[in-house]
């Protein structure tokens, strides 16, 4: 039964999205808060991630945009006095924070009960030694290493463990002296070498090539257990599960294997004493039933979010209820509403998760996949067979792939190496190997250890493709083959390309439309199926849907699981797809807000999206959820079935925005700004001529068609220049070039990106202010707006920049001019709905950088700071329903919001942690304060900066930046900091009377003190390293310092304006003075 003593509960969020901790925790936290509210419990949430759904109005009772750190959490506890705390819903951040609060007695002091899994159980799973000991108690096998002091012991250990083994030299960095041994002979050789590095050698059983299997397990306080889902990794052990393609349920396990691991998982969870949810990861021998437990996560995780979406079982919701004291038998299955929550979902489909990487955005990053996570997002594809699911998934990751086949052929130097040393492209290397017949399934299995079953399925796709290619023209395509191709996940486009239609027609879109018409004439149409948790065993009224072609062949009518009303009351919202750099939780927030308003306005809300980490793909958030592709083909399939009143393309970022024109050509009713105007805005030339027409300036630019044109252009405007293709988001392949050589090298890369749209070169203006204008307009008239100012100067991508709203340092005249220009643009483009304009201001000259006729990344931030929901307003405009005109006084705020970016350089080994015009941040936070310093301090601490204790290392770039940093340097000295500085900065500071100690660059060999050494010895608390210009240079001195700071977890700032602001903030405002105020207290 529910615990009635718990009246107020504190939930810890996970903060900014970062690699390894992303949108899944918005989903799990939102679910938990919903579960608590249902019980009438007051909820308090701490999460500085302002773009999340969980930090929206009405989700929690009190929201604190504060760092999820013990100091701040204690102060919130002191103020709010909650009865209970939930630690399992905010990832590792919340868990670590909770454990610390428990250990330092804060929870006890304030009498706060940890709901759900006890902290001791968390500690038992987190501490490696305790964990192994705990599982030893119940004879469950874990991965252990044996420490040996001589070769004899090593031999003994190896024969006990069984070959193959890995041996590692203890205390040796970088894997020196480690390796695999298949037999004693190899061990003798390797161990001898290892002992030369180290007095101790660790011998460990090698599990290379073992399967990786995961179970999601739930337990209530009555000791009832279920496993909700199991998952199998496509990639064998050795690749982090977050980096693996994952299939649910497992495909290669027999009944005996499946249930052996399931029973073990239950045994483990009972012994550890989890109350709620956890996952158990196994390594599983592909040649026997031998296993090892890799780890247990005593909290909701990325896998649990995936399992929830894969099965329809709301793990986080149920876990929260169990934390409140319920038994599983007291809860209902939220899909059927009639059957019990104590059950295990039966799937009648297969789910495939594929990670999304953005490694090409980082300079110097090591692209090989391994035991640490590098992916920034993921997709989930649902199909009635593996081929369909994986082909859908490979399209969903959004890297211009059309499926497993019919992609632009990958250029690979050495296929064997590319298979053996997996990178983000390995699946396409397999495609190449199969298609070019370089290796057969058996050989690929030998090289990769990927289970033959998966490879045979991929081979099947290639075989179908071969049959298609054998058709010399679309006219000889027979119905049976088209149906087979569709059943196994081919798009109309893949078919068109395979039969040579794309080449023939010279246009990809026309070609796919031809195939579409053909297959419709064959009556080959996809059907809509439900995810109902029980494989149709009982009737279910679920709105959780996917589409498949494995739904034909019965005399019964088309086998749709649902009926379509066709009453002109349906509004479809297109989601934002995989989280990636430049598009993440902020667009999920926008989508969810649009759905809410659509529902409230009396329409049926329909979402199409495929990202398992999101709240918009929670089937509770809309009237109908299509967990499916956002390709033109699939969106049209759904539109044709739903006959909607309208489609919203402006709340999901660039993916839906790019579909606008194509949908419009098919007479799809697009809500809000017309597709034609969207195109006028997206097309640089048209946009530019419009600006000229209305007399608005923009940086000089030119569309590139030949090198001569460019040279002429640059002769006129001079370097530096900004180079980019049109139709981009987050500056993919965008770069600043400072000289001719760089320009030529970069253009080769950029020109490859998009053939359909020209590459653009524009004058890059240095030391200009950058300003974001977010707004909502109706019929060309602006009805709400928010102007935010970047702390950094232009040159830092707006997605990486620190935003200040309302602006604190803009001239009134600048503001006035921006408003005037935006009004003109809104009118010219007949904007109805959300939009965003980016400006540059130097003195009072305003230049337009770009305009997007859709919601922007900063919509949730400005909406929440202003307490005016821009998306709600925009959706009302698009639906043409009445809305309240915002009060003008509303835009006058007595407080400041700061949005700071979260970087994940620490996960991206080798990458240069420097900011540029290409976006690099993986997430953001937004904090509110009574003044800039207070808000900035909260925000900077939230994204992982720390206030330095004593020492700061300065390398402050070019003269201009050096001068900018001078005041900050004085402030540091005044506050008792010791400054270290590299050569130029040292001299500059000395000349300006700032006391500092010179340290030497890595290239100044033999001179001391060496900057790198000081970092390694932890003698530096903060590094300010400002690159001299915007040019990318690898492996130079600056890079080494920056990389070392990241690797050693020392806060690093690479921008002089941001560094100055941060230094000023912590020098003038002690942490104790930061007011602990909830969102609602800022009025």
């Amino acid at each position: 039964m529910v615990d009635k003593d718990i009246k107020k509960v504190l939930l810890l969020g996970s903060g900014a999205l970062k690699i390894g901790e992303a949108g899944e925790f918005d989903y799990s936290g939102s679910q938990a808060l919903k579960a608590l509210r249902e019980e009438g419990v007051k909820t308090v949430l701490i999460n500085p991630n302002i773009a999340t759904v969980q930090t929206s109005e009405g989700v929690a009772d009190q929201i604190y945009f504060l760092p999820v750190q013990p100091y701040f959490v204690e102060r919130v506890i002191e103020k709010e006095r909650p009865d209970g705390i939930l630690l399992a819903f905010g990832g590792q951040t919340a868990l670590n924070c909770g454990v610390e609060l428990y250990k330092n007695g804060v929870l006890e002091k304030y009498n706060v009960r940890v709901l759900g899994t006890p902290v001791q159980a968390i500690i038992d799973t987190e501490d490696r030694e305790l964990f192994v000991k705990k599982l030893d108690e119940i004879n469950v096998k874990t991965i252990k290493s044996q420490a040996c002091d001589n070769i004899e012991d090593a031999r003994k250990a190896a024969s006990e463990l069984g070959y193959p083994v890995i041996i590692r030299a203890a205390y040796a960095l970088g894997g020196l002296g480690s390796g695999f041994c298949d037999n004693e002979e190899e061990l003798n050789t390797l161990a001898e070498k290892a002992f030369s590095f180290s007095p101790q050698v660790l011998v460990e059983k090698s599990l290379k090539g073992w399967k990786e299997i995961e179970y999601e397990v739930v337990r209530d306080r009555y000791n009832n257990c279920i496993t909700v889902c199991n998952m199998e990794n496509f990639d064998p052990l050795g690749i982090h599960t977050g980096e693996s393609i994952v299939i649910a349920p497992s495909q290669t396990l027999t009944n005996s294997e499946y249930h052996k691991l399931r029973a073990l998982a239950i045994k483990i969870i009972r012994h550890i004493g989890i109350v709620g949810e956890c996952n158990v990861q196994y390594a599983f021998d592909p040649q026997s039933e031998d296993y090892r437990v890799i780890e247990v996560n005593a909290r909701l995780s990325r896998s649990s979010a995936l399992a929830s979406k894969a099965t329809g079982y709301p793990l986080a919701f149920v876990a929260a209820k169990l934390g409140m004291g319920y038994g599983l038998f007291e809860l209902k299955n939220s899909v059927t509403k009639t059957t019990s929550a104590f059950f295990e979902p039966a799937l009648d489909y297969v789910v495939c998760k594929i990670p999304r990487w953005d490694l090409s955005k980082f300079r110097g990053v090591n692209k090989e996949l391994g035991s640490s996570m590098k992916s920034v997002g993921e997709v989930m594809a649902i199909g009635r067979n593996f081929e369909e699911a994986i082909q859908k998934g490979l399209r969903m990751i959004g890297q211009s792939m059309h499926g497993f086949v019919e992609n632009k052929e990958l250029e690979v130097a050495d296929v064997e190496t590319a298979l053996k040393e997996p990178t983000d492209k390995r699946i396409f290397v397999i495609a190449k190997a199969m298609q070019r017949k370089i290796y057969n399934v058996e050989q690929i299995h030998e090289i990769t250890k990927i289970d033959r079953w998966f490879l045979e399925k991929l081979q099947h796709i290639v075989d179908i493709d071969t049959q298609l290619r054998n058709c010399t023209s679309v006219n000889v395509l027979d119905k049976e083959l088209v149906l087979t191709a569709k059943v196994y996940g081919f798009t109309d486009f893949q078919i068109a390309r395979a039969v040579g239609l794309e080449k023939e027609m010279g246009n990809m879109h026309k070609a796919l439309l031809t195939v579409r018409a053909l297959r419709k004439s064959y009556n080959i149409l996809p059907v809509v199926k439900q995810i109902d948790t029980l494989a149709a065993e009982y009737p279910a009224h679920t709105n959780y849907l996917y589409m498949t072609y494995s739904g034909t062949g019965s005399t019964a009518k088309p086998a749709h699981d649902i009926k379509f009303e066709k009453d002109n009351k349906t509004v479809i919202v297109l989601g934002s797809g995989a989280y990636r750099i430049g598009s993440s939780v902020e667009f999920d927030w926008c989508g969810v807000q649009a759905l809410n308003t659509i529902r409230k306005s009396g329409y049926r809300s329909v979402m199409i999206n495929y990202n398992p980490e999101t709240v918009s793909t929670d089937y509770d958030m809309c009237d109908r959820l299509y967990f499916d592709e956002l390709t033109f083909e699939r969106v049209m399939d759904i539109i044709e079935l739903e006959s909607p009143h309208g489609v919203v393309v402006s709340t999901g970022g660039q993916i839906p925005n790019n579909l606008a024109m194509k949908l419009d050509k098919e007479n799809v009713p697009i809500l809000g700004t017309s597709a034609k105007d969207i195109d006028n805005c997206e097309d640089r030339a048209q946009f530019s001529s419009m600006l000229s027409r209305i007399g608005v300036d923009q940086p000089e630019w030119s569309a590139l068609t030949s090198m001569d044109d460019i040279n002429d252009f640059i002769d006129r405007v001079g370097f530096p220049v900004l180079v980019r293709p049109s139709y981009v988001l987050s500056g993919a392949a965008m770069n600043v070039c400072s000289n001719r050589e760089e320009l030529e090298r970069f253009l080769q890369l950029a020109a490859n990106v998009s053939a359909e749209h020209p590459v653009v070169v524009s004058k890059f203006i240095e030391h200009a202010k950058e300003i974001d204008f977010d707004g909502v307009a109706k019929d060309g008239e602006i009805i709400a707006y928010a102007i935010s100012e970047h702390v950094e100067f232009a040159g830092v991508h707006s997605g990486d920049a620190t935003l200040q709203f309302p602006p604190q340092k803009l001239y009134v005249e600048t503001m006035r001019r921006i408003k005037r220009i935006t009004k003109q643009i809104a009118r010219e483009l007949h904007i109805s709905g959300p939009f965003n304009c980016q400006y540059m201001a130097k003195d009072n000259d305003i230049l337009v950088i770009e305009t997007n006729l859709r919601a922007s990344r900063s919509f949730p931030f400005v909406s929440k700071v202003l307490k005016l929901n821009f998306i709600d307003l925009a959706t009302k405009v698009m639906l043409n329903v009445p809305f309240d005109m915002p009060d003008k006084n509303l835009f006058d705020l007595d407080y400041v919001g700061i949005k700071s970016s979260q970087f994940s350089f620490n996960r991206l080994q080798g990458s240069d942690p420097v900011l540029g015009v290409d976006m690099a941040s993986t997430g953001e936070v937004g904090c509110i304060g009574d003044d800039t310093s207070c808000a900035l301090l909260k925000a900077m601490l939230s994204v992982g900066h720390r206030i330095p204790k004593k020492t700061v290392l300065l390398s402050t770039g070019a003269t201009k930046q050096k001068a900018e940093m001078l005041d900050a340097a004085h402030e540091l000295i005044k506050n008792g900091y010791v400054l270290y500085a590299t050569g130029g900065t040292h001299r500059f500071l000395c000349e300006n009377g700032v006391e500092n100690v010179e340290v030497f660059w890595p290239s100044d060999e033999g001179k001391y003190p060496q900057a790198l050494e000081m970092l390694h010895e932890k003698k530096i608390d903060m590094v300010v390293n400002i690159p001299k210009n915007h040019t990318a240079r690898e492996l130079d001195n600056g890079y080494k310092i920056r990389r070392a700071a990241i690797d050693l977890n020392i806060p690093l700032i690479t921008n002089s304006r941001l560094a100055s602001a941060f230094i000023h903030a912590f020098c003038t405002m002690p942490i104790e003075n930061i007011a602990i105020k909830s969102w609602s207290e800022y009025k």
Partner: protein, 370 residues
């Protein structure tokens, strides 16, 4: 692959391709929502007379293990000595399989045992039809033999008679230690799954497996075990009479001398009938690995493996009896127990195979009572 059509009693047709033995057949069409365990399911005698539809679409992935037998005659991996299902229907048969323990493909096995298999069927849609209509008869016909229409009956056929052993078989207890003398159980074979026998002998029990209608009451044994089986429990009149006779004898004894009874699936129904209760056919039969049951009067629940179309009507139980387990989805009976004597049964399969093993403790309980 030949084109085949499944024709249901109500006239609905589904078209697919044959991947098993090319033969027309008819049978009661039932679905199972288990996601793995096709070798175990196909050899489960409870499927006698039935065309099995698997709702999980990908089947055949891990091939089929060797059909070998242990020295005591129990199959190593299978649940009986042959495939009992009439035919298998799947959505997407995996022509290539991958598993270290596989000896042949599912297709080859079906062909060897002359059992049809159909792939390419929208098994979700088929399941919905079966769900709404209740189970019904179906025929598998080959498109190139339009005149060849098979006939079969399910109702009224005594499938137990077909699958039960014809004479007594004895299995010696395994894992017997010097200090631990083996007890003996009589197992009434209505179509017993091999894993029930494994579960008993591995717990140190000698098993005397007797034909379903054999009068065992005069035999020497320590406890009675009522196994699972196919079809309608009302057909098993003789078995019910023997159980009743056994219970009458035991009632004569002092309480502590009363020998235990445990039943599984059909065993539950037979025990209930012997106790005076009636059984009825469920609208939605339970055929899956995810059936939730709760032990009545406790907060303890189990995920169970089930395969039955009939259920005990709890309301008709005699006053000496009470429900032991209840289904948490539809409230149907999942087991009964005697209020005084060590007699109990489960409608689900504690021996699993295939399915979850959470309720195996019932065997421990039975063995402790011997």
């Amino acid at each position: 692959m030949e084109n085949v059509t499944l024709i249901l009693q109500d006239g609905t047709e589904f078209h697919g391709k044959s991947f098993g033995y090319d033969k027309t057949v008819a049978g009661e069409v039932v679905f199972n929502t288990a996601m793995m365990g096709y070798p175990e399911s196909l050899t489960d005698p409870s499927y006698a007379g039935q065309i099995v539809v698997l709702t999980f679409p990908l089947v055949g992935n891990y091939g089929v293990p060797a059909f070998s037998f242990e020295d005591n005659g129990i199959p190593t991996f299978m649940e009986s000595d042959k495939i009992h299902a009439v035919a298998l229907i799947v959505s997407d048969y995996s022509e290539s399989y991958s598993h270290w323990n596989a000896k042949e493909s599912l297709s080859d096995w079906l062909k060897r045992e002359k059992v049809p298999g159909i792939t390419g069927i929208d098994t979700r849609e088929l399941t919905k039809v079966l769900r709404e209509h209740g189970v019904m008869m179906g025929k598998i016909v080959f498109d190139n033999q339009p005149g060849n229409i098979p006939e079969a009956e399910y109702e009224g056929v005594n499938f137990v008679e077909e699958v039960s052993c014809k004479e007594i078989i004895r299995y010696a207890a395994a894992n017997v230690t010097e200090h631990n003398e083996a007890k003996t159980a009589v197992l009434v074979d209505c179509g017993v799954k091999a894993n029930i026998i494994r579960c008993l002998i591995n717990r140190g029990v000698n098993v005397i497996r007797v034909p379903w209608n054999y009068d065992f009451t005069d035999m020497e044994f320590d406890g009675l075990f009522l196994a699972n089986g196919p079809g309608d429990p009302d057909m098993c009149v003789e078995a019910v009479e023997n159980i009743r006779k056994f219970m009458e004898c035991e009632r004569e004894k002092s309480d502590s001398a009363v020998r235990p009874i445990m039943g599984i699936c059909m065993g539950n129904q037979l025990l209930a009938k012997a106790a005076g209760a009636t059984v009825y056919k469920l609208k939605y039969g339970h055929r899956s690995h995810n059936q939730p049951v709760r032990m009545v009067g406790t907060e303890t629940c189990f995920v169970t493996s089930q395969n039955h179309g009939y259920a005990v009507d709890s309301k008709t139980l005699g006053s000496d009896w009470e429900p032991f387990f209840v289904n948490m989805n539809d409230g149907s009976n999942e087991g009964i127990r005697h209020k005084k004597y060590p007699w109990f049964s489960a409608q689900f399969h504690p021996e699993a195979c295939s399915g979850p093993v959470d309720a195996e403790f019932l065997f421990d309980r039975f063995v402790e009572l011997l």
